[in-house]
Amino acid sequence: MSTPADQMANEPLNYITARRGLMSWLVTMDHKRIAILYLIATTVFLFAGGLFAMLVRTELIAPGKTIMGKDTYNEVFTLHGVIMIFLFIIPVIPSVIGNFVLPIMIGAKDLAFPRINLFSFYLYAVGAAFFLATIALGGVDTGWTLYTPYSTETNRFVLPATIGIFVLGFSSVFTD
């Protein structure tokens, strides 16, 4: 009888077993490991966005107020859109699948700039932090499109959200 750990020990080293410990993941420059970091982060936000979607549908179960008022509802559908678009749909395909399989498909050892690849992940985290700050400050109620002139007139926290989108844009440009 061999335990899974034994089996792993007998196998040749791979990107999971080559190094151990939290730090080996946080400062990794391996494209496969960065893809896994992105996979975890985007999955977390997929469920966060899904949670807001459930709140929207719950509110709409019956006409009139069901569980939240108008302004809260507007914030909730905005957060659902912003999280799903900027923290899930845009990054998930290129940064998870692209990072993992594209270098293998074209026969490259890694991305051209592994450090920038890691940096783009942390930029993603900074962009996400701006969204969390937006929620903590009291939310934004413009819808994910942030149409002017409404977004310039509303008294909500549009600026932290747009800074977050701006930072996420750089995360996308850098490799993602």
Binding site: K70, D71, N74, D141, T142, G143, Y147, P149, Y150, E153, T154
Partner: protein, 329 residues
């Protein structure tokens, strides 16, 4: 046999008024059949190819699955006839869809001459419709079987004029006029929604369209236009206060909103921004309506738009009478 079939079809009860279907609301304008036709055209093309592709995929997976003792055949790597077929047929379908859509777009874009003109003013969060005789109301009344042109503007953010039964939706934007037109084909009352998210009250920004026979429409318009003159001045002023946007910012219960409350201000002194005082009398109210920025009550911002040209002389008199009647109890 064929006779029996066609006979059965002819005897089938024809619906007097085509009410809403599973996909679409009732058809009540001249655009409705065309819009629905394109919708179903695209829908059934998509449905046909969806079923075809899914069925073929399942068939291939079963028919050509890996089985013991069966060697995989070499796949053909090129087939000109097949490639031309699956390129040309979709191109033809896409061109047909484009032509159908473009025809509808052109029909909706060109307003027929001699249409009945109605002005639309959208603001957070209500609609104002102004008729050729100067009458302004929050509900839209139109004659049946006559083209109606809407010249629309927004006073603040982007709104969108949407009547599902008419199949028209058109953005109403600040700083320019957007035009749309329709010809209602059935009398009745229909919903009118704002279809562009515009803030807290967006979901409440709905009203009704009433489609009437031309005679009944004229009668309504004449009556409604003179309605205010039949009321005592302060009640007429109250109607204007509710309908023309005053109530959005000025309460009548003493609570300050975006602007000061109107309760009990008549005849009293107001402290003004930048020092000075003013007594609320006829001239003060008139100036505050027509040139709101000339005197600002202390503690409030200079945000009120002028109502110059938007209220008639008589209407200002009614509003003055209404404010006069608001005594503190």
């Amino acid at each position: 046999m064929l006779n029996m079939l066609t006979g059965a079809l002819n005897n089938a009860p024809s619906p007097a008024a085509p009410f809403h279907t599973f996909w679409m609301p009732q058809q009540a304008s001249s655009f409705a059949t065309q819009v629905d036709w394109i919708f179903y055209f695209i829908f059934y093309i998509a449905l046909f190819f969806f079923l075809l592709i899914v069925a073929l995929a399942f068939y291939m997976v079963l028919r050509f699955r890996r089985r013991p003792g069966v060697k995989p055949q070499d796949s053909p790597n090129h087939n000109t006839a097949l490639e031309i077929t699956w390129s040309v047929i979709p191109i033809i379908i896409v061109i047909l869809i484009f032509l159908a859509g473009f025809r509808g777009f052109v029909d909706m874009s060109f307003v027929p001459s001699g249409a009945y003109q109605i002005g639309v003013e959208a603001q957070k969060w209500n609609w104002n419709f102004s008729y050729p005789n100067g009458f302004v109301d929050t509900e839209l009344h139109v004659p049946v079987n006559q083209p109606v042109t809407l010249t629309m503007k927004s006073l603040d953010v982007v709104h969108s004029f949407f009547v599902p039964q008419f199949r028209i939706k058109r953005d109403v934007v600040p700083g320019r006029y957007n035009k749309t037109w329709f010809e209602a084909t059935k009398t009745g009352t229909y919903d009118l929604f704002c279809a562009e998210y515009c803030g807290t009250g967006h979901s409440d920004m709905h009203t009704i369209v009433v489609v009437e026979e031309p005679g009944a429409f004229q009668e309504y318009l004449n009556k409604a236009s003179k309605y205010l003159d039949t009321l005592p001045p302060e009640q007429a002023g109250e109607q204007l206060y509710k309908k023309r946007g005053c109530s959005q910012c000025h309460s009548i219960d003493g609570k300050p909103g975006t602007g000061p409350s109107l309760l009990g201000i008549w005849g009293h002194e107001q402290l003004l921004t930048g020092g000075g005082k003013a007594v609320v009398d006829e001239n003060y109210v008139r100036e505050s309506i027509l040139a709101p920025s000339s005197k600002i009550v202390a503690g409030f911002d200079n945000v009120m738009p002028t109502f110059q040209g938007r209220l008639k002389e008589k209407e200002i008199d009614y509003l003055i009478a209404f404010i006069k009647s608001l005594e503190k109890k």
